[in-house]
Symmetry: C2
Subunit: 148 residues, 2 copies
């Protein structure tokens, strides 16, 4: 035990979080390659499949991403034909994102992905639920903070 103990990698909570997130998303790659999606594109499509229609700001709030990340990514999804991007007539500052038919078809090809991935993270049901709750607890606290 020395004065620098706090600075040891093994004493950080941030590092396993960082590494784990990175390794988990990396393991999605082979599954998502079949859908021609990256991980970030996949979570964008997940939100779009559920909401069908939303603007960039709403999408960003759900995913904790800003327009700097989303704008180029959405252009790629549009190019692939999975979403459409059109200006809102009532307020031209808003960009309306909608899933296309091709985007909806993709959903059927993606149904196996979550199960395949859950095989990869070998936790008990209880452990997974506790992890899930703890992570959302942190995220919700951050969200409150950001509102202030």
């Amino acid at each position: 035990m020395d004065n620098y103990d706090n600075l040891k990698l093994e004493n950080q909570i941030c590092f396993p979080l960082y590494a784990c997130a990175k390794e988990v998303t990396r393991r999605y790659k082979p599954l998502l390659d079949k859908l021609d999606l990256t991980y970030t594109q996949y979570i964008v499509m997940m939100v779009m499949w559920e909401n069908k229609k939303m603007n960039v700001k709403e999408l960003g709030e759900v995913l904790y991403l800003d327009s700097g990340t989303l704008t180029p990514l959405l252009l790629k999804l549009e190019k692939k034909g999975y979403i459409s991007r059109t200006k809102n007539k009532d307020d031209a500052r808003n960009l309306v994102l909608e899933v296309t038919k091709k985007g909806l078809n993709l959903r059927d090809k993606a149904t196996d992905v979550p199960q395949e991935m859950s095989k990869c993270v070998k936790l008990s049901k209880d452990e997974a639920i506790t992890l899930y709750n703890t992570l959302y607890k942190i995220l919700e606290y951050f969200k409150e903070e950001d509102d202030n």
Copy 2:
């Protein structure tokens, strides 16, 4: 409950992991700006402070990063004067990384960072320990898998 329930964002374990890691590291920025370090540079320095001397491969194994990420990052840390990069005489394929005096001085300026950050993630001691253990359980499983 429909056939697409598995594909809902809220039913994924990967997403809170991804978002949480991202938000936590983002919150390091103001603290690390004072040290002229990015988050990844910070965890590299943490490992270097502890080990004083190692090569790129060893560093990459500890941090789950490859040379494609580390090579340019280490060049920046060298440019800032925090580490030195020299070829190993016995095996010129290895690059020996060493903390410099300036790099060691930086350690003293960094001692507050972990405590400041832990204030940011408001979990009970028990919750934090459980989270830590679960994340390392996943990581260790991945490591085993990669060895095969």
